[in-house]
């Protein structure tokens, strides 16, 4: 029953985003594509950047695929960062006026963002499969690569939604964090380009492993390291569970502060 409610609400959140716009769901394709074109033009034409380890014949398209695979994953976390703190404040009806399982609200937000992620990954598969390096069997590992990131997103959403309801300033901070994360994650550059001294910093970034694994699997056909996958899943599952615990503990007081 909760699953059905979750499904309804998520579909609704996805629809609500584009309701009334002419292109509708097409925007979740067009939006990232425009960004992709922008980044590719700026980096390859203006800054003449080269992706290390990328053969010349893969050219601009190869660069685009590399950047885009980082962008789709970053976009998920960026959306959670930007929307979670005001999630409860913006839907106070659900808190104050109806009987509602409140811990679902962050799940719905992550679910809606995940739909965008899936559209993006689908586009990536299509792009690389037709005019890139082609489809590889390692693409079957996609669920294992995406699961840790989704768990992290869920935990982040619960935590930020709980805190943001009390601290209205939080959203300003997380908006900045979303932009900062784009530059401190290996989105616009590969992990290997980062100086040795800063590698540990990159290691603790929750985006690093999923982005690198996604590129390896889709572009080069390399299967993810299973131990790393398991480790990330366990760590982020624990994180999400703790965040849910905190959320559930304080959700009874939401109505008092709205």
């Amino acid at each position: 029953m909760r699953l059905e409610l979750l499904y309804n609400l998520t579909m609704r959140a996805v629809q609500a985003r584009y309701r009334g716009s002419w292109l509708g769901l097409g925007w979740s394709l067009l939006g990232p594509m425009l960004m992709l074109v922008l980044y590719t033009v700026v980096f390859t034409e203006v800054m003449r950047a080269k992706w290390p380890g990328l053969a010349d014949e893969q050219g601009k398209l190869g660069f685009a695929v590399m950047v885009y695979s980082g962008m789709v994953l970053h976009a998920l976390i960026a959306e959670v960062l930007a929307s979670s703190p005001m999630l409860i404040v913006g839907q106070s009806n659900y808190v104050k006026k109806v009987i509602f399982p409140l811990d679902l609200l962050p799940v719905v937000a992550v679910g809606a963002a995940a739909v965008n992620l899936l559209v993006g990954v689908g586009l990536l598969l299509l792009l690389n499969g037709t005019i890139g390096t082609g489809l590889h069997a390692a693409a079957l590992a996609l669920p294992v690569i995406l699961l840790p990131l989704l768990l992290f997103a869920l935990g982040l959403a619960w935590l930020l939604a709980a805190l943001g309801t009390f601290f209205r300033d939080l959203v300003q901070l997380t908006n900045f964090a979303a932009t900062a994360l784009l530059f401190v994650s290996p989105v616009l550059y590969p992990k290997s380009m980062v100086p040795h001294l800063m590698q540990p910093l990159l290691k603790v970034n929750p985006l690093t492993w999923p982005i690198e694994s996604l590129r390896a699997a889709l572009v080069n056909g390399i299967w993810p390291d299973w131990f790393g996958a398991l480790l990330h899943i366990i760590v982020f599952a624990v994180f999400a569970r703790i965040a849910l615990g905190i959320y559930r503990r304080v959700q009874g007081s939401f109505a008092d502060v709205l």
Partner: protein, 448 residues
């Protein structure tokens, strides 16, 4: 399956304190430790409330605005946590707390029905089966496929109530939202609620004591956040009404000169024959009277000051509540700083748009016979039958002048001396309804 004496709702020593101006850190700290805000640090909306409902019982909660009724309901529904005490609810609760809450304005009525019903735990399949019934109950026609932001408030409440009526709740909690529907829909809701009493528990909150008496066996009267009285609905409602009518009941000893109405009302004054019946139906036109506000907007020369304006019953008791069609007395008391040669006291009643509905003054009654006696206080009394008023806010403006209607000096004019709020009522058209002396409908046969 359940025994008759099984409890549906138990409220034990419940209190609610709303935080006021607390720092967010402190609020979070309290929330994390699950420690409520102390009464001294906030606003105590409810204190020490205890009552219980048996399965199948219907209980009405009555009380004036701000008595804590909505807070109590929110806590029973679980949308608000009590600061102290405990609330135990057995069974599935469906609540109509506020108009259209839980509806998403951008989505159509149909989409909202599915979403709303799934909040109450109905599967898509179950809603499919009941959709026809729900839509038939709501009677919103083609609007079902329009976004609900285009709905009128009446359509909103009809749809919300229709969903509520079809989710198999064990306990229904209904706030005053019903007041927005039209009389026809109200009747339908009342029929549903009467039928629901056979199988479920009903908690009903209203200003309208007549519908509480009609629906509920028990009533709880809240006053200033405490239970003032609870027990048999009729008894509690009667003491509640007695209390309402008795507020502002202060006897003042003032010297007065009297202007007597030229045509005093007497027992022979015709009465609308339907009045008795109306007063005992839910078409009763309840008018809430707010106290005179001496600081309200006013202007004038100031040689005379309007000191008090009140609506009294025909025997002279101040009213905080009046029923349309009843005989009332409007008194305007003026304090004189200097004697006036030809005092005129008058009033207007205006609706919320500022349209003057009716009004009168003392000129005609006093122009032929000079006012005898003297004193420093002048009191004018207007005896009339309160018209039926369509739901909404009304105000009495009061004025005192010196001269005649064509040429006079305004000494004091108070814009919103008395405010009224009307609910319900049988007005079928026009700005006010007049008590009819007789209404007849008869067949004739006329040969061609």
């Amino acid at each position: 399956m359940y025994s008759e004496t099984m409890k549906a709702i138990e409220v034990r020593h419940v209190a609610k304190v709303f935080p006021r101006g607390q720092h967010p850190w402190r609020m979070l700290w309290h929330a994390l430790r699950r420690q409520p805000i102390a009464a001294a640090e906030g606003y105590a909306a409810l204190s020490d409330i205890s009552f219980s409902l048996r399965r199948g019982q219907t209980v009405g909660i009555i009380g004036r605005n701000g008595a804590g009724k909505s807070t109590l309901l929110q806590m029973i529904c679980g949308t608000l946590q009590p600061s102290a005490g405990e609330i135990v609810v057995h069974g599935k609760v469906a609540a109509l707390l506020e108009l259209g809450a839980g509806f998403n304005l951008e989505f159509t009525g149909r989409e909202n029905v599915y979403l709303n019903a799934s909040l109450y735990g109905l599967s898509r399949k179950q809603v499919d089966d009941r959709l026809a019934d729900i839509l038939a109950f709501a009677e919103i026609g083609d609007f079902v496929d329009q976004p609900v932001k285009t709905y009128s408030s009446g359509m909103f409440v009809r749809l919300a109530f229709a969903v509520l009526a079809h989710v198999d709740a064990d306990i229904l909690i209904i706030d005053e939202a019903l007041a927005v529907g039209d009389a026809y829909f109200n009747q339908k809701c009342m029929r549903f609620l009467h039928a629901f009493r056979e199988r479920g528990t009903l908690l009903f909150v209203s200003h309208d004591t007549s519908s509480v008496m009609a629906l509920c066996e028990h009533a709880v009267w809240l006053q200033n956040g405490r239970v003032r009285e609870q027990g048999d609905a009729k008894t509690v409602c009667e003491s509640y009404l007695a209390d309402l009518f008795g507020t502002h009941n202060k006897v003042m000893d003032v010297e007065t000169a009297t202007v007597t109405d030229a045509d005093p009302t007497d027992e022979k004054t015709p009465v609308d024959q339907r009045h008795q019946w109306l007063s005992h139906s839910n078409l009763r036109n309840d008018l809430e009277v707010f106290a005179f506000d001496p600081k309200g907007r006013r202007f004038g020369e100031g040689a005379a000051q309007i000191e008090h304006v009140a609506l009294l019953s025909e025997v002279g008791q101040p009213l905080a509540w009046v029923v349309g069609g009843e005989r009332v007395r409007l008194t305007i008391r003026v304090r004189l700083a200097q004697p006036l040669a030809n005092p005129i006291v008058g009033f207007y009643m205006k609706d919320r748009l500022g349209q003057t509905l009716f009004g009168d003054n003392t000129w005609l009654s006093s122009c032929h016979q000079p006012l005898r006696g003297d004193g420093n206080v002048l009191e004018a009394r207007f005896h009339f039958r309160m018209p039926y008023l369509p739901a909404g806010d009304y105000s009495f403006a009061a004025a005192v002048g010196d001269g005649n209607p064509a040429e006079h000096v305004h000494h004091d004019w108070v814009h919103d001396a008395l405010m009224l709020r009307a609910q319900g009522g049988p007005v079928s058209g026009g700005l006010i309804g007049l008590p009819m002396q007789a209404v007849e409908l008869e067949y004739y046969r006329v040969s061609a």
